[in-house]
Structures are given as C-alpha cells and as structure tokens.
C-alpha cells in the first residue's frame, strides 16, 4: 500500500481507542444524504411501479386503437389474436358521459367491456372493493370508489347516465332519455385520478350510449409472458388495416409517465443538495485537518514525500469518507425501506391519523421499488462529490512549503 493511502486511513481511523470524531461526522453527513436519496427514489419508483402494474392489469400491455370506431370488429379481433406473442384480446368502448344521482352531476369516463373476453386480458377482480363483477349486466355498472363517494351511490343504488348523443338529438328535436343503471360494485385501483372518474359497464351498454352499433373504440391486448410488448405492437401494426394502430401501454400513457419521471428527477436533484452539503462538510473538516497537521505535512516532506503524494493523501481521505458514507447510507437507506411501513404506521398512530393516511394518500402500505439506475446514480454522485471536496484541501496541503510547514506553530 502506498504511504499516502496508509496515512489517509490512519488519519481517518487512528490506532488506539480514540473515536474518530471528525470522520464519523463527515461519514454520517454523506450517509444521510445517500439514505434519503435511496428511500425517496425507491418509494417514488414504488408508486410508479404500482401505477404501471395497475395500468397493465386493467388494460393489457398493448392497446389497439383507431381514429374512427372500428367496424369489422370480428375480423380485426381475429387478426390480433392470431398474431404471434398475443395471448388474448378484448374489445372495448370508451368515452365521456354525464352521470347523475340525486341531482349531483359528474362527468366520468365510461368503459364498456366485453364480459366474455375481458377476464383473459384484465385482472379487474383484483381491484373490486365491493360487490362483484359477475353481477354486471346490460342494466348495471361498476363505479370507481371516489366517484361513488361523490355521487353518493353505492351497490344497490340507481344512477342515471346521459349520453353525449343527447346534444345531437336535441338539435333534431328528439328526446333522448337517460339510462337508469343499477350499481353492482365498487372498483379501486389506488390512483386518485382514475378512481374519481371511471364507470365500467358492458360493451353493449357502451355501444348503445355512444351510438356505435356493432363498432368498438379499441382492443386491449395481453401478450404472452415471454413476449416483448414493443415487438408485439410492431407485429400488430404490420397486420392491422390503415387507421388502426397498436401502441404499448408506455406510449398510451406517455405524458403521464413523463410527468411522473420528471417529478422523480426533480426530487432526486433537490435531495442531491443534501449530498452536496455533506461534501462541503467533508471539505471543511479536511481543510481544518490541513491546518492542524501543517507541521506533520512538513515532516512528511522531510521524510522524502513527494508533493503529489501529499495531495493524494488528502484526496484519498475524501474518497474514503465518500465511500464509507455511501456504503453506510445504502445500508441505512435499505434498512429504512425494510421497516418503512412500521415507521409510517407508527407515526400515523402517534398522531391518530391512520384514517387520514388511507383516505388522503390511498395507501395502507408504502410501496418501494428500488431501481438499479437510481442506486448507481446515487452512488456515483455521492462518491464524486465527496472526492471533489477533497481537491481544495489537497491543493492547500500540496502548496505548503516544507520549511514553512515545519516552522508552523
């Protein structure tokens, strides 16, 4: 081991019983920054992962959509189902409606699903909170949970659904009566926006509401477990007629995912400031060390040390602190993630806010999905910042003239 590395280690962790106080503070600073980054990015990715999971669960990996309603449903479905990599497909209709109960209007999205085939694509049952999907028929609907609350309509109640065609009919002096539907279930995917604005009904109900006849708006596709969603989407686009396009769920939700990612990146860079501050604390304690040890630096020159190696001795200290802090931060961060729910529930219980937590944030458990890319980025930033923090102290040490350093009081 070169002497500067040996001495760097010894100055950080002196022999004997002395507790390395400066080192501990610097390392803790870096560790805290790293731990916070790991916890926050993992939880945010956990939310994102949950949403992705939910999207794929309810709509399949690939969606086939057309600019105009698709007429030749049977033939298109046939083509889709025989495309390699496709496991199942189910047609749907989708559009805005007005729903009313007790004169309270709402404007949710109505999704008409094909009861015969929907189960092969979407795992909707997993998200049912009350009632059953099996009870759904042409005269009934399933409401998403927040929508149900704002309508004040629960299983057994009746609601009225007004079609957008109403307006057109009015122009030709026709009267188009709203449909009375029975609520047979509540649905909750755990996402505020979706849970406040979706109604599920049968495909036939949807076709009637939107005046489609036998046409549909699109087809949800479930791919085989070993298939690649982009490859399947590309294959489908080869066989589908013009004007009909297959998109992966990532393309469908592009804006949404982009916003989610942006939010995560912003958080990452804001929290990176903690690591930056920690790096400054590494720098200041090393600068103090350079002053405190000026005479020893002079001695090292007298022993024959090269200037470059003296500088490296301080760079190495910064690097070691960065490395130790990063490792400690990773351990600490993952430990916090492991007991995250105990922590959250503990705090909520302490504040008597467990209900609020569930209602406001719609989770009873905090998700976590650490991504390798986030972890690598965290490690790289914290080690690079800490090592850079060593440059100024190293430069100060290297600049000392041996004779003046030895004379230093």
């Amino acid at each position: 081991m070169p002497w500067y590395l040996y001495l760097a280690l010894k100055q950080l962790f002196p022999s004997g019983r002395r507790f390395p106080f400066f080192t501990a503070i610097s390392v803790t600073g870096v560790a805290l920054g790293v731990a916070v980054l790991i916890v926050v990015t993992s939880v945010m990715s956990g939310f994102e992962w949950g949403i992705r999971q939910m999207m794929v669960d309810t709509e399949g990996e690939v969606q086939v959509q057309a600019r105009l309603p698709m007429d030749a449903t049977g033939e298109i479905l046939q083509r889709i189902r025989t495309t390699p990599g496709v496991a199942a497909a189910t047609p749907f209709v989708k559009g805005f409606v007005m729903a009313m109960a007790d004169n309270r209007p709402t404007f949710p999205t109505f999704r008409g699903i094909d009861l015969a085939s929907v189960e092969s694509v979407a795992n909707l049952k997993r998200y049912m909170r009350a009632g059953s999907l099996d009870d759904l028929d042409d005269d009934s609907v399933v409401l998403s949970s927040i929508l149900a609350r704002s309508l004040g309509a629960y299983p057994g109640d009746q609601i009225e659904i007004y079609s957008p065609l109403l307006i057109q009919k009015l122009k030709s002096d026709e009267v188009f009566l709203p449909r009375r539907m029975r609520v047979v279930g509540l649905f909750e995917v755990g996402h505020q926006q979706l849970d406040s604005s979706t109604i599920y009904g049968t495909l036939r109900t949807g076709q009637e509401i939107f005046g489609l006849g036998r046409a549909v708006h699109g087809v949800d596709v479930r791919i085989k477990p070993d298939a690649n969603e982009e490859a399947v989407a590309a294959q489908l686009n080869n066989v589908l007629p013009p004007g009909v396009r297959a998109m992966t769920w990532m393309e469908t939700w592009d804006d949404f995912l982009w916003a989610l990612h942006l939010e995560k990146r912003i958080n990452f860079f804001l929290l990176l400031i903690i690591v930056l501050v920690a790096a400054f604390s590494v720098m200041s304690s090393l600068l103090i060390a350079v002053v405190r040890k000026t005479r020893e630096i002079g001695l090292l020159s007298a022993l024959g040390a090269r200037t470059r190696d003296v500088a490296l001795c301080f760079c190495a200290q910064a690097f070691i602190v960065g490395l130790a802090g990063t490792v400690l931060g990773l351990v600490f961060g993952f430990a916090v993630l492991a007991v995250r729910n105990e922590i959250v529930h503990g705090i909520a219980r302490l504040l008597h806010r467990e209900e609020t937590l569930r209602e406001l944030y719609q989770f009873s458990d905090l998700p976590s999905h650490p991504l390798a890319s986030d972890i690598v980025l965290t490690i790289v930033f914290s080690i690079v910042f800490s090592t850079l923090a060593g440059l100024i102290p190293a430069w100060r040490a290297a600049r000392l003239k041996p004779v003046e350093a030895l004379r230093h009081e």
Partner: protein, 217 residues
C-alpha cells in the same frame, strides 16, 4: 581521503522581511565525509536551521551548489539518502511508535518483513522495545525523540541532520539522546551534522564549526 557524503559550496540564502533583505547565509562551504560527525553552533537566529534545511534539500538556496554523495541533490533521493531529527519531534500522533519508524521506509517502498524487523531492531536499539505499540501521546519527550532518531535511521541513510535535537528536553534526557545519536552514527557509519547550543555536546563530535554572520567558521 574518504568519500564525500555532502558537498555544499557558496550556499546563500536571503529572506525578505518587509522591504528589507536579510542575508542569512552569505556563502557557506561545507564538506562532510562518510561517517564523519560535525557540529554547528551559533547564536539563535544565526541561520542554523536555514542551513540544515538547505542541506536537506527542503528549501532552495539563492545561490551556490549542493551535492549528495557526489551527485546533484534531488527531492526524490532524500528519503533514501538522509535522515532528519528536529527540536520538535514531529511524530505522527495517529500511529504508534513502531509505525512512525516504519513511516520512513514507506516513503521508499511498501515495508515487508525485512523492514519490519529492522524497525523493531532500531526500537530495541534506542531502548524502546517495550513501547513499540504506544502512541506518541503516551511517550515522554525523551522517548519521542528516540523514536524520531530510530525513524531517521530507518532507511540506513548516509547522512543524518539533527537540528537542536535536545532543545525540548531536560539536561539529563538530552545527554542520553546525544550519546545515543553519536553511538548509533558511529556504529552504522552514518555521517552526522549536529546543530546544537551546547558546547559539551559539540565537543563530542569530530569537527566543531560556528555559524557567524552568515558564514561557517
């Protein structure tokens, strides 16, 4: 005549203090041969430390030339060529006595079994075999200076430069350190340049010089 270990010719050193130029060394000539011991005395502020630092290559002279064993003095050669002992002991406080001695070896190469054995032997030779694992803070002044002597001799240097090594020690301890220094240098054939105030110590060296008005007499 035996080989020259150190040859200094017309060494000059000036310091600027404000806008006044102080000529500390005005052309010092000094030749030290192998195994020889030389003492330098002089009043406080006469430039003894300045001269020793120039001889060690720690500072650049404003004029003159310096050779170590006949070749130009270069910083890379210092670790293997010479050892230094100072008034303040300058031990590294974070590592134990033995590790401080080994520190000199580390400047040349990563220490192996041979270096460790030699460091232990030197610790024994300076009478500190039992204190090898003590930190500098746990040693007395005299003990610290003896560790510094062992460190200075670690790389079997040709030359040892000692700058008032007894300045921080009481008389009794100082005597012991000087005797140790002289006998070790004699045993190992190391040339010694000893800066001291003490006439009695100077008498023990082979050649006594005085630094006065920037010149060696």
């Amino acid at each position: 005549m035996s080989e020259a270990v150190l040859t200094a010719q017309q060494l000059r050193k000036d310091y600027l203090s404000g806008d006044r130029r102080i000529e500390v060394l005005r052309g010092v000539d000094l030749a030290v041969t192998a195994g020889e011991s030389v003492s330098i005395r002089g009043e406080s502020g006469s430039g003894k430390s300045t001269l020793l630092n120039l001889l060690a290559g720690l500072d650049a002279p404003d004029g003159g030339s310096l050779a170590w064993a006949g070749a130009a003095a270069r910083a890379e050669r210092r670790a293997a060529f010479l050892g230094m002992v100072f008034q303040a002991f300058y031990l590294i406080p974070e590592i134990d006595a033995l590790a401080n001695v080994l520190m000199a070896a580390r400047m040349v190469r990563s220490p192996g079994v041979a270096e460790r054995a030699r460091a232990k032997e030197l610790m024994a030779r300076v009478g500190l075999a039992e204190r090898a694992t003590h930190l500098p803070g746990q040693l007395s002044g005299g003990e610290r200076q003896r560790v510094a002597v062992a460190r200075a001799l670690m790389n079997s240097p040709k030359l040892l430069l000692a700058d008032e090594p007894t300045g921080n020690l009481d008389e009794h301890t100082g005597d012991a350190v000087i005797d140790l220094l002289l006998s070790l240098c004699r045993e190992t054939g190391t040339a010694l340049v000893l800066v001291t105030h003490n006439a009695a110590y100077a008498q023990k060296t082979g050649r006594q010089l005085f630094l006065r008005e920037g010149l060696l007499h």
